[in-house]
Each structure stands twice: as structure tokens, then as C-alpha cells.
């Protein structure tokens, strides 16, 4: 089985993000970048599926600037087998990225594609779905599991997605509960936060990553239409949180909640 896992280079979720005064983007000076946390969960799940099946190959794919090599190295140090970076310095929308992945899935003859349910930079949550449509494959989004992240099954590294007899069983997070789906493989699965706790790279893993293949492809060499269909007009920071206020009595509190906050 060959598992393709997508990896996006995104700003560190712990960094404070500032929007440029003209609203054309965010200020990237001194910004630290990491693997999109949902993609990290996808890598972890792929590695668990590989460890359980014994024979899978885990291939990481990324689209972005040359510096995205760093994030692919992180995934290789976690244990993935090799990586492909499609080098693109321009802005790409979700459809363009899905088309590039479509091409890579065909070229690699992958059996399963795992993606983070969304990237934490633009939160678009559409690449996985678009990819499934382009491939004509079944899809399961927001993969989670019934065991908690404190359970023994989690600690022993049991995969949450079960694959056997040409079918994948996926527990999805839906409003108010969990839904279990079965879908034939090949398939596209996007993963949610509570699927697993990703491992971190051990030193032997880090040293091995140095020797693993990281292939770079020029975006033009793929013959894929990446012309943007979507244009970002402007970005605005969220409104500043108002300072709290102390009230003198319960009566005053109830009045304020009713008249000002309008929550009761």
C-alpha cells in the first residue's frame, strides 16, 4: 500500500499574527513556520498504518516555497519514507493545489491519500474534498476515533483508521457526536484533531531523514492548470477585545447582560 500525505508549511500557531497595514497579507518577518498541525496528525496516522500493515510506503507531498523542505524534513524525521516538493513561489488557491495533488496521486499510483482537514493559515477546508472529486474517489472527512487520546489504544500507537479487505473504516466527528463510515480504498481521508497525538522525531529518526529522498519538481513541469480562480481582496485583524468591567451588584450585572451584551 502506498500512502500519500500532504504537508503544508504554515506559521506557528503559537506566534502572534499581525496583518500588514494595507491588508494585502500578514507580516512574515521573524515568523516561525511549522508543519500544519492537522497534517502532522495525518503523518502520524500514516506511520501507524504502515507500522501495523508492515508493508506500506509513506510519501509526503507539499506545494510551496523551497523553504517547505524544512517541514518535509520534519515529516521524514518522524518516519516517512520519502518526500516530493512541488516548488511554487506564487500564491495558489485550493483548487490549484488539489489539481497538483491529483497529478501526483496518479503519477505515484497511491492507494490512500491522507490530508489535514484544513490548513491553519487560511482555514479553507476544501483541498481534500476537491481532490476526491478530481480523482472520482470516495472520501471521508474529519477522521477521528472513539478511543480518547488518553486511552491505552492511543498510547500503544493503534491507528484510528482501520483498513482491511480493501475497505477503510473511519470514525468522523459530526455535530453532536461521531459517525462511522466504511468506504472502499483507494480513498481520500482528511483528519481531525482527536485522531491521534503525533510523535516527535527521535535522534536516530533525524539522522536517517538526512539520507531520505526529497525530490523537487518545478510547478510548470506538471502541466497542471494552476491559474487562480480566487482572489483575496484584503485581510483584516479580528476586532480588539474590549476590556472587562466590574459591576456593583447582581442587579446591575443582569441589566448589563440583558441591555448591553443582549445575551439574556
Amino acid at each position: 500500500m502506498k500512502i500519500l500525505v500532504t504537508v503544508k508549511r504554515v506559521p506557528d500557531p503559537n506566534a502572534s499574527i499581525k496583518v500588514k497595514p494595507d491588508g494585502t497579507g500578514i507580516i512574515t518577518d521573524n515568523l516561525k513556520y511549522v508543519v500544519n498541525p492537522f497534517d502532522e496528525i495525518a503523518i502520524e496516522e500514516a506511520l501507524r498504518l504502515k507500522e501495523k500493515s508492515g508493508g506500506a510506503e509513506v510519501v509526503l507531498v507539499s506545494v510551496g516555497s523551497k523553504t517547505a523542505q524544512e517541514q518535509l524534513r520534519t515529516g521524514l524525521a518522524m518516519g516517512a519514507d520519502r518526500a516530493i516538493l512541488v516548488v511554487a513561489e506564487q500564491e495558489l488557491d485550493s483548487l490549484a493545489v488539489a489539481r497538483i495533488f491529483h497529478k501526483l496521486v496518479q503519477d505515484e499510483k497511491a492507494d490512500l491519500v491522507l490530508l489535514g482537514k484544513q490548513a491553519i493559515d487560511d482555514d479553507a477546508n476544501q483541498t481534500g474534498q476537491m481532490l476526491a472529486a478530481l480523482l472520482g474517489w470516495p472520501q471521508a472527512t474529519f477522521a477521528s476515533k472513539t478511543d480518547s487520546l488518553e486511552s491505552e489504544a492511543e498510547k500503544s500507537g493503534t491507528p484510528g483508521i482501520q483498513i482491511s479487505g480493501g475497505a477503510a473504516k473511519v470514525v468522523r466527528e459530526v455535530d453532536g457526536g461521531l459517525e462511522t463510515l466504511e468506504l472502499p480504498v483507494p480513498a481520500v481521508i482528511t483528519v481531525d484533531l482527536r485522531l491521534n497525538v503525533p510523535r516527535y522525531a527521535s535522534l536516530p529518526g533525524i539522522m536517517k531523514a538526512r539520507k531520505k529522498e526529497l525530490k523537487e519538481l518545478a510547478i510548470d513541469s506538471l502541466g497542471v492548470d494552476v491559474k487562480p480562480k480566487l482572489k483575496i481582496l484584503r485581510l483584516d485583524p479580528p476586532p480588539k477585545r474590549q476590556a472587562g468591567r466590574k459591576v456593583g451588584s447582581v442587579q446591575e450585572l443582569v441589566q448589563a447582560l440583558h441591555n448591553e451584551a443582549k445575551v439574556i
Partner: protein, 400 residues
């Protein structure tokens, strides 16, 4: 062309020059936050060694950090070693000292100086963390004055008879009753010093006492070890008789740099605590960061920390672990980092006032830990002597 050169130079990261360093730093960040930090206060308060955490460090490959890959290590350099000590000490200098005594004083030294047969038998157990190691140089009446040591080893047939006592041995014990597993022990054969591999359970080798009530680094165990007609097989002699000064020289620079790395971690954490607190705490109606006296504590601490960090990592960058002879800067880096870390910890307590004096706010523990680096692995006075001697002998070092 000129632009390319300056762009590459500007983006060069002294603290993480390669992908491997960057990945190591990422792993450490997670490991320290999830596993080292949560246990630090308790183990230091109770003066206990966290064996399970030590073995976790083994699982991650940290115990064989600087051992070559052909010997089963990670084959990393002095920069990586400093990075690990800085990261661990930002949370738990006590645990870090136990790590240093094992990974640098024992494993690194042994991997450089041991024979293939000795390494074959011992190294993989030490790298996995199954065996806990240490180094025995200091004696009750001989510390800086190494040549004044009294321990002796006399050859009798196929073994040596080792006699003497060793003092302040980190990892000498792992609790009140049990010695560590394996030690490099220095003792005199005739007038010269030789190095022996002494293992737990050797006849005549015992725990004199586990030393309690240290000022700081309390999560590391310190012991007095006794060698009373201890029987050491000749096959456990490291190198040849009288070779210890070479073994000590080979290890000295990395020992001092990693101790300096510990000081950096202490300074870094104290600065974070100080800055965080000065943003939150108000006096006279304004955050205390508005007061000039607090500003002086923060600004001086920050600039000293940055200066120390550059110095330590620059010496680490230059250090070729297979060579030796860079003593002046290993001593200099430790001398400076130790002092500024102690002063920054002191300022952190001052900024936090009464809270700083309480254990819960961490800087109290770091303040006690910081002092060690002015004593262990070479006293401040030894560094003064070495640096002056080296500079007076080779004044061109100043302009280099």
C-alpha cells in the same frame, strides 16, 4: 554576488546551522514541555533522580548524542550538545546535570578513549540508558589540584587493585543505596594518572554515602564512592597506563561548553519569567515594566544573555570534537555564562519580589542551580588561571 553572500550570512543561524540541529531543537522543545518541565519541581524538591525520564532520553537517542554513528550514536557535534543542555536546563538543570555526567563525562569520553572491545561490551547499554554512568576525578582532598589525587592502582597479574575515595560524583548513586552502573575512574599508577572502567558490583567497590542537601541541582544524585582493594580486570584499563591527561584533555572542552549551555538555559528561563511578570504585575497603578529600576534588570539581563549565547555557540561551532587545544575559549565561555546566569537569576527574583522567593515561581530553584556552574567542571578560579596562562603564552589569541 555581494548581496547573495550577505543574504546567506544574515540567514545563518548560529544556534541551528543545519536541518539536523533544527529538528533536534523541535524535538527538544516538545520533549521538554511535555515530559521534563512537569516533573522538575517535584523531583528537585524530593531530591530524587528520575530514572524513567533518563530512559526516555535514551529512547530519543539523546544519550549517544556526540558518539559517532558507527559506534551507535547520533554523530552530532558540540553545537548540538550545547543545544540539548540549554533546552533541558531551561526546565530542569538538576536532571540536565545527571544527563551531562552520563552523556558527556562518561559516554562521550569513553567513546573517544575506550578500545573497540570495551565499547562493544559497554557502549550500547550506556547509549540506551540501561546503564547509568559517571566520571570519578575529584577526591575529598583533591579537586582543582588534579595531580594531588591519592587514589592508586597497582597491577597484580591480570587485574589492578584500586584504592581510594572519590567525592561529589554525579550519578555516583541513583538512590540512597545503589551506585550507578559504570564509571571512568582516575587513579595513580606509579606517579602518572591512569583511567579505569569500574562497574557496579566489582569486588571492593561500594557507595560511601549518597550526599544530601546540595544547594541546587537536586534532581541529580551526588555520592562519595569507595574503592577498597577494588579488583579491576586489566581489560578495563582505558588506553595505556599514564594516559589520563590525554583523556581529560580530549573531554575538557565539551564538558565546559555543555556546562556553559546549562547556564544559558537557566538565563533564558529567568529572562522569560522576568519579562512575563513585569508585563502583568502592577505597582503604583502601572505595570512594573514602566519603572526604570525594572527596566535596568531586564535590559542588562537580556544583553548579557545574548552576548553569552553568541560566545558559547561560537566556541561550539569551532570545536572539532576529535581534536583538542581550544581550552582558552571553553574556559572563557563557561566563566562568562556561569556568572551572567547567576546574576540574571538573581535579578529575576528581585523583579518578582516575594513571589520570586517562592519555589512555585521557578526562579528560586534556578538561582540555587546557577551557582553550580561556577564550581563544577572547573572552578571560576581554575578558569582565571587557565585563561591567563594561555593568553600570556600566546597573546595572538586575543586578536584572532
Amino acid at each position: 554576488m555581494h548581496d547573495d553572500i550577505s543574504a546567506a550570512w544574515r540567514s545563518f543561524d548560529l544556534h541551528a546551522p543545519t536541518d539536523e540541529h533544527r529538528l533536534l531543537a523541535e524535538t527538544l522543545q516538545t520533549f521538554v514541555a511535555q515530559e521534563v518541565e512537569p516533573q522538575a519541581a517535584q523531583y528537585n524538591r524530593e531530591e530524587r533522580f528520575n530514572l524513567a525520564l533518563f530512559r526516555r532520553a535514551g529512547d530519543l537517542g539523546l544519550l549517544g548524542l556526540t558518539v559517532s554513528e558507527s559506534d551507535g550514536g547520533a554523530g552530532l557535534d558540540a553545537t548540538a550538545a550545547v543545544l540539548v543542555h540549554e533546552a533541558l536546563s531551561a526546565a530542569d538543570p538538576g536532571f540536565c546535570l545527571a544527563y551531562l555526567a552520563h552523556a558527556v563525562l562518561f559516554v562521550h569520553n569513553f567513546a573517544r578513549n575506550g578500545s573497540a572491545a570495551q565499547k562493544e561490551r559497554v557502549l550500547s547499554k550506556a547509549i540506551s540508558g540501561e546503564w547509568i554512568g559517571g566520571m570519578c576525578m575529584t577526591e575529598p582532598e583533591a579537586g582543582t589540584d588534579v595531580l594531588g589525587m591519592r587514589s592508586t592502582a597497582v597491577r597484580q597479574g591480570d587485574h589492578y587493585i584500586l584504592n581510594g575515595r572519590k567525592m561529589f560524583i554525579t550519578n555516583g548513586a541513583i538512590d540512597d543505596r545503589t551506585t550507578g552502573d559504570v564509571f571512568l575512574v582516575y587513579a595513580k599508577t606509579d606517579s602518572k594518572i591512569s583511567t579505569f572502567l569500574v562497574e557496579k558490583g566489582f569486588s571492593g567497590f561500594s557507595l560511601g554515602q549518597r550526599l544530601h542537601d546540595k544547594l541546587g541541582v537536586r534532581a541529580s544524585m551526588t555520592a562519595e564512592l569507595v574503592f577498597d582493594n577494588c579488583v579491576v580486570p586489566v581489560s578495563n584499563l582505558i588506553g595505556s597506563e599514564g594516559e589520563s591527561s590525554k583523556h581529560m584533555m580530549r573531554n575538557l572542552e565539551i564538558e565546559r561548553l555543555t556546562l556553559a549551555g546549562m547556564s544559558l538555559g537557566i538565563a533564558l528561563r529567568c529572562l522569560e519569567v522576568m519579562v512575563g511578570y513585569s508585563n502583568e504585575r502592577k505597582t503604583f497603578g502601572v505595570p512594573i515594566r514602566e519603572h526604570g529600576q525594572i527596566q535596568r534588570h531586564i535590559a542588562e539581563s537580556y544583553s548579557e544573555f545574548r552576548a553569552a549565547r553568541c560566545y558559547v555557540y561560537d566556541v561550539a561551532r569551532r570545536l572539532d570534537l576529535s581534536s583538542f587545544g581550544n581550552r582558552v575559549d571553553a574556559d572563557g565561555a563557561k566563566l562568562f555564562a556561569a556568572r551572567i546566569a547567576k546574576e540574571i537569576a538573581d535579578r529575576a527574583i528581585q523583579v518578582l519580589g516575594g513571589y520570586g522567593y517562592m519555589g512555585e515561581y521557578v526562579v528560586e530553584r534556578l538561582w540555587r542551580d546557577a551557582k553550580l556552574i561556577e564550581i563544577g567542571g572547573g572552578t571560576v578560579e581554575a578558569h582565571h588561571k587557565n585563561i591567563t596562562k594561555d593568553l600570556c603564552r600566546a597573546p595572538e589569541l586575543i586578536r584572532r
